[in-house]
């Protein structure tokens, strides 16, 4: 997508005013309405939340080194895995790519000066931070022990932990999601640059559009569900209480109506990132643009009708189980289409292996395994055996960590030069990507095996015969932790000492690469005019007017 006048600026050293140095001081950040600054503020908060969730995960894995628990009492272990799940899902993975890269890139990629509602965008950040505040307060006042799923009647009538405070935190953060999704949908509909038609949009935008639809359609349901749970807990009477004819499974229906699509909130943006990375580092137009674009929308829609596969063994009706099973198989198809199209994009490309591309390839590998093991859980008979075991834990970590997190890291590495204007040391980044990939597999592959052997999840203590596999998993986790720590160091280093990146260090296509790095506050020095399809690498030399 070269623009009509982009070639005018060739000066590689462009040290003029940008969004980072336009104003200084803490106030200039806290009251900013610039989507790029808000994106960075999200980045700071979710990195902090990721650290909390990561510490909880580390302590869990340490505890599981010994069957009787190496470190903590079962009560504490339960709080650790609940904290890990809640923080990672609601306060890291859900906002990860949309709120950071999405906020930063959507206006840049579609050629707009800002999102449609910049003040609302800032409000979303404050809501998110408030939600984080409540969550941290709940952790500091003891922590909850309900798991991230909050199933009643345990969470409503039996748990003695600050469930209401934690639920309130998620409720508030949920409104941040809703408003972000709303902002994105309106921005993508109404703010595109002249010539930026729907089918010229980068696939990252399609993916975030699909994600935003889930934000809008799904998040209100988790909000009302947790609201009802809170009422039940406060008044000791409520609509999930079996004593007055309530059905605890109804909570699960409402919960998974959001929480299954939420998985796709996490993975869809990563798929969008991977589409960008694969094309940029193989210098190829994406293979099957419209198939990838529409598979994102298909995933967003179908994700809402498969939730019952979380409930095959809960006493859900057999008939509903059959319906949800067949629907769950259907959602596998669009994901498969994406993987095949990415693979085909590499064909006859010019592939280079800089760090972001390593993350993208890692994503495809891990997501493929995660997706295929999903078939085991969509199949009713095998799900009966595997549901609630470590097999499920391994499966969704392959999707959420192997998939979503790899995509997030790949995206951060890809757009870091655009965000900061500086390059990081590529060799270190490649080493980190390799360590993450190896550590991840060491951690989670043994969990497939221990799951099939029958080890249930959320066990603070476990039968001794599962120890070897658990020790392997814990050892892998320490490798993984190293892999996550390295980028923090060199990315921080690069902000000050990295060499200047220039407008387009990767030779990538897309409007964001036509402007300065870092971009000016109003994004484009020259208003963009789009005259060609996305990823038009074959005509890189040609100028279109």
């Amino acid at each position: 997508m070269s623009t009509a006048t982009a070639d005018i600026h060739h000066d590689p050293v462009e040290s003029n005013v940008n969004y980072l140095n336009a104003s200084y001081g803490i106030k200039s950040w806290l009251f900013t309405v610039d989507h790029k600054r808000i994106g960075l503020m999200y980045l700071a908060v979710i990195t902090f939340m990721f650290t909390i969730g990561g510490v909880a995960a580390t302590l869990m894995r340490l505890n599981l080194v010994e069957p009787q628990g190496a470190l903590v009492e079962p009560e504490t272990y339960n709080k650790l895995f609940s904290t890990h799940g809640i923080i990672m899902v609601f306060f890291f993975l859900v906002p990860s790519i949309p709120a950071t890269l999405g906020n930063f890139l959507i206006p840049l990629m579609i050629g707009a000066r800002d999102v449609a509602f910049p003040k609302l965008n800032l409000l979303s950040w404050y809501l998110f931070v408030t939600g984080c505040g409540f969550a941290i307060f709940a952790i500091l006042s003891g922590g909850v022990d309900t798991g991230w799923t909050f199933y009643p009647p345990y969470s409503s009538l039996y748990s003695h932990t600050p469930v209401v405070i934690m639920a309130l935190g998620i409720f508030i953060a949920g409104f941040s999601s809703i408003l972000t999704g709303l902002n994105f949908v309106v921005t993508i509909h109404k703010m595109r640059a002249p010539g930026m038609t729907w089918f010229r949009l980068p696939l990252f935008i399609w993916a975030l559009y699909a994600t935003s639809l889930i934000f809008i359609l799904g998040t209100p349901v988790i909000a009302i569900t947790l609201f009802l749970l809170g009422l039940e807990r406060i008044f000791h009477v409520g609509i999930f209480d079996p004593a007055i004819g309530g059905d605890p499974l109804l909570f699960q229906h409402l919960f998974w109506f959001y929480s299954h699509p939420a998985v796709y909130i996490m993975i869809l943006p990563s798929m969008g990132v991977v589409s960008e990375l694969i094309t940029a580092f193989s210098r190829k137009k994406i293979f099957g643009y419209s198939f990838i674009a529409f598979s994102s929308l298909a995933i967003a829609v179908i994700s809402f009708i498969v939730w019952g596969h979380h409930m095959f063994v809960t006493g859900q009706s057999v008939y509903a189980g059959l319906v949800f099973s067949v629907l769950s198989f259907i959602v596998a198809i669009p994901s498969a289409i994406k993987v095949f199209n990415w693979t085909a994009t590499l064909y006859k490309g010019s592939i280079s292996y800089q760090a972001p591309m390593l993350y993208a390839l890692g994503f495809i590998g891990l997501f493929t395994i995660g997706g295929l093991t999903g078939l085991f859980l969509a199949s009713l008979a095998t799900d009966v055996h595997l549901n609630g075991t470590y097999f499920v834990v391994a499966h969704f970590h392959y999707i959420m960590v192997g998939g979503a997190l790899m995509g997030y890291l790949g995206g951060i590495h890809f757009w870091w030069p655009k965000i900061t204007g500086r390059m990081y040391p590529d060799m270190w980044a490649r080493i980190a990507a390799a360590i993450v990939f190896i550590g991840f597999n060491l951690t989670f592959f043994p969990q497939f095996v221990v799951g099939y052997l029958g080890m249930p999840r959320r066990y603070a203590v476990y039968p001794a015969e599962f120890q070897v596999l658990n020790v392997m998993s814990s050892a892998g986790a320490s490798v993984l932790a190293v892999g996550y720590a390295i980028p923090l160091v060199y990315l921080a280093w690069s902000m000050r000492y990295g060499p200047p990146a220039g407008r387009n260090p990767w030779g990538a296509k897309g409007l964001e690469w036509t402007t300065l790095s870092p971009p000016p506050t109003e994004n484009f020095d020259v208003p963009p005019l789009v005259t060609e399809d996305a990823y038009n690498y074959a005509h890189a030399g040609a100028t279109h007017v």
Binding site: A112, I178, L182, I216, F227, F235, G245, F257
Partner: protein, 233 residues
Amino acid sequence: MSDMAAHDAHAHPQGFAHQFEDAVQQKEAGTLGMWAFLVTEILFFGGMFTAYIVYRSLHLGGFIIGSHLLEVKFGATNTAVLICSSLTMALAIRSAQTGKSRGAIISWLILTMILGATFLVVKFTCEWYPDYLNHIVPGSYFGFEYRPEWGAHAPYVQMFMCFYFFMTGLHALHMVVGLGILTVLVIMTARNKFSSEYYTPLEISGLYWHFVDIVWIFLFPLLYLIGGRYPGS
């Protein structure tokens, strides 16, 4: 940079935000944003409606007994009050559209607020407070003991009352928020912020107000009229 200057130099109507190209784009964005928000509201209330439908189909007897504990006359009155307030809200927006005076807009807005407040007053004084005195608020003092005529349906009567209070409570909360928004609109109108060229805040606040009305349009039959009110129902 020439275009930036040109952009700033445009004569834009009041209320114009820098990120937009023109006022049409801004208005369309605002309206689409509000509708997207209302969709989230549909699903927010929808979670409760889903639960209501599920339990109604499982415990119809208890729900009918519970429904008969409510007074149709108050529900019907409040429905009428809200419909009136929707009309006055629509007329307030129309006044802005057609360039009527500030006074006209403010009068319609204040009338809308009075009707909204009437709804809340009826809700509190004629319904919730007597309910509290009659021990049909769910909780430890519910019905003192279950009333004998409820028979085995008693737990489900309490379930119905949970729905009644949660749903009308959430609706009333939205009414209170709506009154707050109307207050802001009155102030903005008094400060001459709106014209026949720019009245998007009025328009999208109106959407919200009508939505709250629609929720009540469904709550009224679902809570007050289910199973009929005829003798022997």
